[in-house]
């Protein structure tokens, strides 16, 4: 092999790792009528040190992804202002955008940047809000997501959930069919995927702690299931349970002090609650049926779970202090894996419709069940922390992929991975920073 050939091989390898890094890409599969027209001008770069990403592009992609906004293509812009004194509102009224976002990224000490942005009401011709945010090269994407959150909240009245993350499981088989399973964490837009656990044996059921700092999950390493809790930032982990039989379905209480889980150590699967400080365990359900997939109500008073005590899997609800569970779902013959939205009113779950497994959203106030997905093997739904969207696992082009749907079912988008199957997404809570 001559040197030139070797070089081109190296280049291809570099390119392919680049591709692999752009792990999840988002495509909108179903549009939204009446999305808010907005213009986000690419942010100007001041100084010699180029920022690694264009903040404006990230903000624009976030807002488009939500389905609530329709960003103006950059090519259609009549001007590219970055400072307030450069804005001529006539340029923006002419192209019918209601809101305008401009900004600058300037150097701010070694490795640091200062991101300034302004949001305008085009027709009133006035600034609605504006911030100046110090950041670093590695935090620049997070800063862009924060800006998208601020714009989203200012214009819709609801908090944004762009500066959050997702955890999910991937499975890749080599040519011999040997499977490698990864537990990964990525930004909510699919960027920065990082493997936090890698195994030859199944990994399942990632669950975020309410402060977003830990993930509980099930691992079949050493050919038996056990529940682990791992710190997201340090990678330090600890085995919580490995009883005889099933150790599964971990779910954090809203205060992070307790973990609901499924154990079959007494003969069949029942829900237990573990006090994480004392490591004490108490049974919550005791029934010959399969009781599993616990999830806490946001007020921490109830737990919903899947049980086939009535002959088929349905959702039941029980007080955290115990007692007789009451049935929650009555529509359909298969309802499973329910979890609450932050408002405590809506439950999302897997529901079977004419033999297809789809994502449903149940309004517990009136019992209405709305079907939000259209696949046949959809599973593992999880609400965004602001309740605006649900992320779930589905299949497309023969692969397991992740998709997100707005809670009203009007916007659906697919997150596609380059290789392997992706499944079991869990949307993080709002990340609670410490001492910052």
């Amino acid at each position: 092999m001559n040197l030139q050939k070797l070089f081109s091989v190296l280049l291809v390898m570099l390119l392919s790792t680049q591709l692999a890094r752009a792990d999840l890409t988002i495509e909108i599969t179903k549009g939204l009528e009446g999305a808010l027209p907005i213009a986000i001008v690419p942010f100007a770069q001041l100084g010699e040190q180029a920022p690694p990403h264009n903040v404006g592009d990230i903000v624009s992609a976030d807002l488009a992804r939500s389905g609530r906004f329709k960003p103006l293509p950059v090519g259609d812009m009549l001007a590219r202002p970055s400072r307030g004194d450069q804005v001529d509102f006539r340029d923006w009224r002419a192209v019918n955008v209601e809101n305008l976002v401009i900004g600058e990224v300037e150097p701010n000490g070694p490795g640091g940047f200062l991101v300034k942005f302004r949001l305008y009401d085009v027709f009133r011709g006035e600034q609605i809000t504006g911030f100046s945010i110090p950041t670093t090269a590695s935090d620049l994407r997070a800063t862009a997501h924060q800006i998208a959150d601020i714009i989203y909240e200012t214009l819709t009245g609801q908090p944004g959930a762009f500066n959050t993350r997702i955890a999910y499981i991937t499975s890749i088989r080599d040519q011999q069919g040997a499977e490698k399973i990864h537990l990964k964490v990525a930004d909510a837009d699919g960027y920065n995927p990082q493997t936090i656990v890698s195994s030859d044996d199944p990994l399942m059921s990632p669950a975020w702690s309410p402060d977003g700092r830990k993930i509980a999950y099930v691992s079949f390493e050493k050919s038996k299931p056990s529940i682990w809790v791992q710190e997201v930032f340090t990678g330090r982990r600890e085995k919580l349970t490995s009883f005889k039989g099933i150790n599964g379905a971990p779910a954090w209480s809203p205060d992070g002090q307790q973990l609901a889980l499924t154990l079959s150590k007494d003969g069949n699967p029942d829900i237990f609650v573990m006090d994480l400080r004392r490591r004490s365990l108490r049974p919550l359900t005791r029934h010959w049926a399969i009781d599993t997939e616990p999830a806490w109500s946001p007020d921490g008073k109830h737990i919903v779970f899947t049980s086939d005590r009535g002959g088929q899997p349905q959702i039941y609800r029980v007080s955290v202090s115990g007692g007789e569970p009451e049935r929650v779902t009555f529509e359909g013959k298969y309802n499973a894996r329910a979890s609450y939205a932050a408002d405590g009113r809506y439950l999302t779950m897997v529901t079977r419709v004419n033999g297809a497994y789809r994502i449903g959203s149940l309004d517990t106030a009136n019992g209405d069940l709305r079907i939000l997905s259209s696949g046949s093997l959809d599973e593992s739904p999880s609400f965004a922390p602001n309740g605006s969207m649900i992320i779930y696992a589905t299949r497309a082009n023969g692969k397991g992929v992740l998709a997100a749907v707005s809670t009203d079912g009007r916007v659906r988008q697919r997150l596609a991975l380059q290789a392997g199957d992706v499944r079991e997404p869990a949307w993080s809570p709002y990340y609670q920073q410490q001492g910052k």
Partner: protein, 175 residues
């Protein structure tokens, strides 16, 4: 893991190596072909024990003509009842285990991919338990049996249709 179990594993492994390449051929041909391959195949280190374990011919577990060589039973959708066609196979395993009290078996329970994953872990365990109860009813000591549910996490067939699903709804006896 106790030493008896280790010994059995060694014997099983040896038998696997010996019969691994036999395919559908007769036992004698398969043994010869397999043996030759092992010697040439660089797996020499592993085969050191094979000579000593030659006594495996006495173990019906590895006899391809015995029902014991069938280690899988299949289930109907969302069901955990033992189907009548698998009763003879499970009886043969029960007889073998009853006659060999030092042999342990793990029963794996598996599901097809439909439905939620943790619920399928429960369903897989129910299938494994159904096999366990059958063996116990046939006189096997419960101390010889353990169960492990993989739910839908370890499919045997990778397709997404009924033919794949029916192969994945299974109980597997692992000696």
């Amino acid at each position: 893991m106790n030493t008896t179990r280790l010994a059995w594993l060694a014997i099983a492994a040896a038998a696997l190596i010996l019969t691994g390449c036999s395919g559908t051929g007769t036992r004698d041909d398969g043994g010869a072909a397999g043996g030759a391959q092992v010697v040439e195949g660089g797996a020499g280190a592993q085969t050191a024990g094979v000579g000593g374990a030659g006594a495996w011919t006495g173990s019906p577990l590895d006899d391809p003509n015995s029902m014991l060589s069938t280690r899988k039973v299949y289930f109907d959708f969302d069901q955990s009842e033992i189907l009548p066609e698998y009763v003879p196979v499970l009886r043969a395993h029960a007889e073998y285990l009853s006659a060999n009290r030092l042999v342990n078996v793990t029963i794996e329970g598996h599901c097809d991919e439909r439905g939620s994953r943790e619920y399928n872990i429960g369903l897989g365990e129910r299938r494994a338990s159904a096999v366990q109860r059958f063996l116990e009813a046939e006189g096997v000591d419960s101390a010889q049996i353990s169960t492990l549910s993989y739910g839908e996490e370890r499919p045997e067939a990778l397709g997404h249709d009924e033919s794949a699903w029916s192969q994945n709804r299974r109980g597997v006896l692992v000696y």
